[in-house]
């Protein structure tokens, strides 16, 4: 009994007090800052090192939906690409995810997620989500689980993951959508009553990620369904996920 009390005292209060303003460690690779002029060689050479072909040349840009944040381009580009530790990188439209040379984090944040009044009035106080892993490697799944742990405690905002799609207001999808999971995913989606939201988490879901060229995926569903929120990363940090959802439902 004494040991238990000792343990609880030692454990203390672990939750991050202010999730909205908390910073992620310096080493984290978040929003990329691109300055094309710093690299005088052929930009194609930088594009070529990207394992998921997320870098384009005309214009010089990184598609965060494809990026796995491995940092290879940072090493290859003489400082023309630098990953900052700014982690709030989610967007409500896929086009927003393309970061061009000269784009700043502040500009990106100003327009990336559109907080709609309707969404706020429906889900601002309570949002229940059903998670479906469709070929996910368990990376995104672990970070989504972490959102509910004692450190991040997303439940304090009324946002929870629930067991049944029938109890859910929306679906959170991870993985490149394997052929074998495509029917179950679409069933789960159909089982959620309207109005419902769709959140795509991780490079695999948004673009196929490292599995973009696989013959074992079936991306028909994900390419046709309306996606409300894109959360890039491989996997995204829990603070990226929580802040994205809070921005989306218009929480201050």
């Amino acid at each position: 009994m004494l040991d238990l009390l000792k343990l609880r005292k030692r454990h203390g209060f672990q939750a991050i007090a202010n999730v909205r303003n908390a910073a992620v460690m310096e080493t984290h690779r978040g929003f990329p800052i691109i300055d094309e002029t710093k690299y005088t060689n052929d930009w194609q050479k930088v594009a070529d090192v990207c394992p998921t072909k997320a870098i384009t040349t005309h214009p010089a840009a990184i598609d965060l939906g494809k990026c796995i944040f491995c940092g290879e381009c940072e090493r290859a580009s003489n400082g023309a690409i630098r990953f900052s530790n700014d982690h709030k990188i989610a967007a409500s439209k896929k086009e927003h995810l393309v970061i061009t040379s000269g784009a700043t984090y502040a500009e990106y944040r100003a327009s990336a997620i559109e907080a709609r009044k309707k969404i706020h009035s429906l889900f601002g106080r309570s949002l229940k989500l059903r998670q479906v892993s469709a070929g996910g490697c368990n990376g995104c799944e672990m970070e989504l689980s972490a959102c509910g742990n004692v450190n991040f405690d997303m439940g304090r905002f009324g946002i929870d993951f629930v067991a049944s799609p029938r109890h859910a207001d929306g679906i959170v999808i991870t993985g490149p959508i394997t052929k074998n999971m495509a029917p179950a995913l679409s069933d789960a989606y159909k089982s959620i009553s309207e109005p419902k939201i769709v959140i795509a988490v991780g490079a695999c879901t948004i673009s196929g990620g490292v599995f973009a060229n696989s013959e074992e995926t079936n991306r028909e569903f994900i390419n046709t369904v309306r996606i409300d929120l894109f959360i890039p990363g491989c996997p995204p940090h829990p603070l990226t996920i929580i802040n994205a959802i809070l921005d989306f439902i218009g929480k201050k």
Binding site: I68, R75, G136, N138, S145, K179, N180, A184, V210, E215
Partner: protein, 495 residues
Amino acid sequence: MNWIEIKNLQSISLDEIPRLTLDDLRSQAVEKIKSGKRLIQFFGDKESDAITIYAIVADDNNSKLYISSSKIKPEQAYRSMTPEAPSASLFERELYEQCGITPEGHPWLKPVRKGIAGIDRSETPYKFFYMSGEEVHEVGVGPIHAGIIEPGHFRFSCHGEKIFHLEIELGFQHRGVEALFAKNNDRPAYLEKLSESIAGDTVIGHCGTFIRAMESAANISVSRSAKTIRTIALELERIAIHLGDLSALSGDVAYLTGNSVFGALRTKVINTTMAMCGNRFGRGLLALGGVNYGINPKLKEKIASMLDELDDAVLLAGEVLFSSASTLERFEKTGIVEKETAIEIGMVGPAARASGVSIDVRADHPFGGYEYFPVHKLTLDSGDVFARAYIRFVEIQQSIKILREQLNNLPEGELKKTLAALQPNRLVVSLTEGWRGEIAHVLRTDRDGKIKCLKIKDPSFNNWFAVALAVREEGISDFPLCNKSFDLSYCGVDL
């Protein structure tokens, strides 16, 4: 010579590998397994007009591997090994599915990853093992489960609360990983990242196994410094997951203090990995030819102080967890796997060690940094949920000790070498003790020095059947607890 003796990470020429008839290969493999060796790979490598089948067995006590092969025409059949050597079962099913070679007399030749229960609706649904009886009922769970976990289907045959039989159908996560390795063999930098996503909870384990195979095939050796950093990363991964598992196991028996405390400790460990390389799971840390990030004195200090804090906290939290009557009541004598069973079905890793099987790749077939110091193999006897939880507790402490030693003897030196071209027509067996157990990759290069095939085996491949056996005669409400005590990967098997 019917089999040749090799070591972990030894690159051999394809010409050196003996060729037997398929019947001989089969019967000699069975003989070896019966005499105490362990089957670690049995797979087919398809060419246009023929299939080469490789069999690899491990002699753990003598740190040796034995390999032999057979070249056959497609659609040839042979007598199944499974009735005599049950550990071959899933290998044979996989060979049948991938290469169309029928193991005649296999007791349960069903799909591994394709055409699973009702997935492709144009096909006839797979028929599950069926038990009849007046009060017998079935419970189907999945592919989508209640929590945030990967998909798989579990079909229970129960009598009241009691489980008589559990059939596990996986394959839902099949992403064609092995095919991607062969198809993109001109893009090693991409493959390095792909190997991190074989199983996202074993980033360091799988990526390390793959890049060591590549380095061996290219005949380069990485610096001591890089090896040490890789060792540190692998042990941090082991500690992090073991802590996460203790947290989840506590949660499964409604012991919420344990759930919170171990969970918070895990966060500290993965944040340390993030301080090393910018990613909580170690993505981007390992590289072909070495590592991308070094450990400077400030970081070293940070890791050391995290370990000090962790050491005390784990000891205290473990003592409280394992002395609580309500926890022990649920953990002890639940989901037992006997030692004989564990050996027979070819279990690996902490789950096998919890059943008294003394195997650990770090000690038996040392790789990378583990060539320079001994690792003591830890085992427990009871084979129940308690043993699988407790072995994690002691392995965390062991890993903390290893980490301290490695940190205190951190060699200086170059972090990364340029990878030379792979040598043509070589084969490398690369084994690693990941946190789940033995990861085995077999890399084969073609005559142009490109990857012809990469055969991947996650430890979950060996251990899933143990879950099915562990829950027999248990209450169905204990299934989540039993399942978590193994904590197996779906995508690692489905590939």
